[in-house]
Symmetry: C2
Subunit: 123 residues, 2 copies
């Protein structure tokens, strides 16, 4: 089975949402270095709320990109790591990050120009 | 200037949102073939509403990825095409599409397993 993103009801569009999601990109990229606990991921991605991180991890686990391991300790220890499918995505996530970080100046400059023009046309 | 996606207040996160957005990916990829009118883009991306397409084009224009040209005809003809920055993004957009279309079966299978397990654990 292969998806067709241009078809209205193809579920591959949901996959695109996941792999393009801001927090998913950052979490997958962070886990590329090895398994981490919730707090370990949160410490590396500044500004992500615990709730948003929990939701992102749950979505990534459901989509088969992240696996969750519970160690029977007291209190139980929970670690997150990439599945094979998740590892397959790392290269692409890194390229997305690279593009965003490299071109932020171009985008900010375009926005200033656009906003100035829109403001002028409304006068 | 270079962004740092792991810093809480870095605007590069907004760039990531744009380049990962489902409709932005499909519109940039569609315009890679040449300039099109609003209706021409809508005809290629099944299920996108006219309003969502308008919003997506406006966002892409503001970010400097798409340019909008108005021809002084009656009625005025408006065409959309990629800027140099937009063209620079095409390769990456195609890789996102490719990944989503190739791995949809893996993701759907993971979801079924996850949902079955969640349902069982709630009984």
């Amino acid at each position: 089975m292969r998806g067709d993103l241009y078809a209205a009801d193809c579920p591959s569009r949901q996959v695109l949402d996941r792999i393009g999601d801001r927090w998913s990109v950052l979490v997958v990229s962070t886990l590329a270095g090895g398994t981490l606990r919730h707090s370990g991921i949160a410490a590396r991605i500044h500004g992500i709320t615990p709730k948003m991180l929990t939701q992102t991890l749950r979505g990534l686990e459901r989509d088969g990109l992240v696996h969750r391991t519970v160690y029977a300790e007291v209190p139980p220890r929970v670690e997150y790591g990439l599945t094979d499918l998740g590892h397959d995505l790392v290269g692409l996530m890194r390229r997305l990050e690279e593009w965003a970080e490299t071109h932020i100046a171009d985008v900010e400059s375009a926005r200033s120009t656009y906003d100035a023009r829109e403001t002028a046309s409304r006068k």
